[in-house]
Subunit: 308 residues, 3 copies
């Protein structure tokens, strides 16, 4: 059911990338990490537009730093100012941007599948998915994979446990698709009320303690507290006790295993507060790596696909 | 009644430009279209501020691309962040900006006549009107004129039909004033409830079908649906049937005639959806041209008037 | 009670700067005023983030101009887009920014004392206070001091009268602390209901007319009308008559004395409208000077303290 179409420049989601493309992106990210200043004059006079229709500090800022490190000019459209308030269709907005000279549009929005439909209509610029409803978040998955590779090398031999609100997590989806290309074993865990039958067709569901004991990478998902109008779980403390990474569960982890989280952390919910900056935590390293990975993704978008 | 005062640098509206000034602006726009990269280092260290007190994607972004193509530094103030919420007068805001080093302020707001009053008080920087209530939208008129000139050469021999909500259209006003300088024949059309007696002192009103048959340029206006708290017309479908450019009306156009629209289009209201990207449509070309025209306008503002 | 700890790079408030540091900052500001273009390539590829959780036109824009004159890349986070809406702690936001490569965070917010606590936890970047609740506004005090020094030379021999809403004025606090380092005589005045006992431990309270007659510098405070849900004073006209700088009170000022105001002015409240641009007013010069002072502050932040 997962499409295998290879994009040329667009980054719709990790299910559309093949393993070779992912490796090329990660290798290029490694280049940028080693040469953070090298891009400053490379893509000058290229315009990128960031369209964030949902709030996001870290993703938006991370993309902007990546764009500016590549020398690009950055335009911002957000929910307040975009002329979607005038009923303009999103396609027309993209066509407008491309008419004005924009080469890459980085988009975060709620409507799962919208970017794929837009890419099919060819709006005249490359699209980069910066988080799409409950659908996917491919640059998060790529930066996670990059971080895993830096910790352990080839992700193929590893077990990654993805723990938390599986049903509403775009991060879980994109990570699962990306990790599958490398043959990584993926374990899913989390509250019964947040399980996702589609994800479980592709990965095994285990109890929280089993998931933590078997993992090389403990990937805690953010509980999207702001999305749950009705409580799916009875309180923050209860969630932490039953499905959070507590100080006690830290001791069950394998001695070499690491903690990841896409951020922002709900301290005391998914993670004990003292674990955020624990030596085993890779959380702020993930954020650093996000810039290098997004530089690679933006470059690919400008070039219309690296192998184009 | 139209003032003939020549501004030096300010762009308040097209009625204050003479024909020679307009031609100089359009010629300079043509230069920028041919040499889009030539401005990149020309106005470095010049600060422009964009003050948008009404939402607008395309105009704001178009100005920003123009500014950045000229190498300018761009500051943003919008309705949310501007200290008008603290009751500061608009004049004091402009004086503050000029004290801080800003040379050009691009302003969109609701208050017709405000910019002219500010220019008279000399706030220490040049003002560019980016759309003023129902008053005027001079850079839109200039980019329309530029597009017309690229299609047909001298606009003097042409007939331009402006069709739609004449009463609330700043685009209609600024276009009429600009076209009059070239002796263009302007036809007005639209619903009875949206007619404007002041505009009709200066141009002839015709039925929609006559307006479309006689035009070299069919210029459809956006119905400002969001401004009409009470329906001025009974529904979108009825508007489209009676005053929209339907596929049927397309066949009544002269074989060489073109379609224009300032955007964003209400698809299915002013224009049949399939006409937005029709070979006769110049809509996305208008948007491209907006950047070149605004580069010329901004340059004129920095230089304090081209002939200064 | 005032701490004397010397920051290295952070600018928390003027009470933490010693006289020598202040003089160095003002001297460096004078350099930037004379050489406004000299910084354009000095701090290229350095990222600054502006976090404004309260609206502010002039401070935000002034910092941004200063940053761009230094060649810095500028990121914006404001109340709307920051992921504080997701419950992320402010510390984690700062750590995220530093992970992404940000070197300086300029912060305006409501929570007095927050920045000092953050600086103590060492978030990996330098913090600059751009206005903190009713607590302090150190760059305003520094630009005021710079303006005073340009008018009169050494501030030590002078009398500065700070007049208005002392209780809610961060400007009064930071100015008092800064002026004390130079031995300046500070007079406080304003409505009984707006007096501040803590400030009066450190400076003398006088009647409005005495304050105006004795001053070399008449520093009018903004009445934070928007903060007073209940009227602390019976109307704008009454305030102007009793505690404003009226045209009549102007005549009581010493012949060499100058008028200052942090802006934005409530015209007709703190100041008669005709005094805003009066020859004795330094109000727009204060704004100009703000850019040079903030360049010096940002430079110090990047260098981790000028003497570090």
């Amino acid at each position: 059911m997962i499409p295998t179409k290879i994009d040329t420049g667009h980054l719709i989601d990790t299910d559309r990338l093949d393993r070779r493309e992912i490796v090329e992106l990660l290798d290029r990210a490694a280049f940028w990490k080693k040469n953070p200043e090298a891009g400053h004059t490379m893509y000058q006079r290229f315009f990128a537009a960031n369209l964030f229709f949902e709030p996001s500090t870290r993703t938006r800022i991370s993309f902007e730093v990546a764009q500016k490190r590549l020398g690009m000019e950055v335009l911002h459209l957000d929910g307040e100012t975009a002329s979607t308030v005038k009923g303009e269709s999103f396609y027309d907005t993209l066509r407008t941007l491309s008419s004005i000279g924009v080469k890459v549009a980085v988009v975060r929005h709620r409507g799962t599948g919208l970017l794929a439909r837009m890419a099919d209509r060819d709006p005249g610029l490359c699209l980069v998915n910066a988080g799409e409803g409950d659908g996917g978040h491919p640059t998060q998955a790529l930066l996670d994979l990059y971080t895993i590779r830096r910790c352990f090398g080839d992700p193929g031999r590893l077990t990654v446990s993805i723990i938390g609100d599986l049903q509403h997590s775009r991060v879980a989806r994109s990570n699962l698709w990306a990790l599958q290309k490398f043959g990584t074993r993926v374990i899913l865990s989390g509250p019964e009320s947040m399980r996702d039958p589609v994800l479980e067709e592709q990965a095994e569901y285990r109890s929280i303690d089993e998931a933590i004991r078997q993992a090389d990478v403990v990937m805690m998902l953010r509980v999207q507290l702001e999305r749950h109008e009705e409580a799916l779980y009875s309180g923050r403390e209860a969630y932490h006790r039953d499905y959070g990474l507590t100080v006690e569960r830290l001791d069950q982890m394998q001695s070499h295993a690491v903690i990841m989280h896409p951020g922002p952390v709900n301290r005391g919910v998914e993670l004990a507060p003292e674990l955020v900056e624990h030596p085993r935590s890779r959380i702020f390293e993930q954020m650093s790596n996000g810039v290098w990975v997004r530089m690679a993704v933006l470059e690919r978008a400008i070039r219309g696909g690296m192998n184009g």
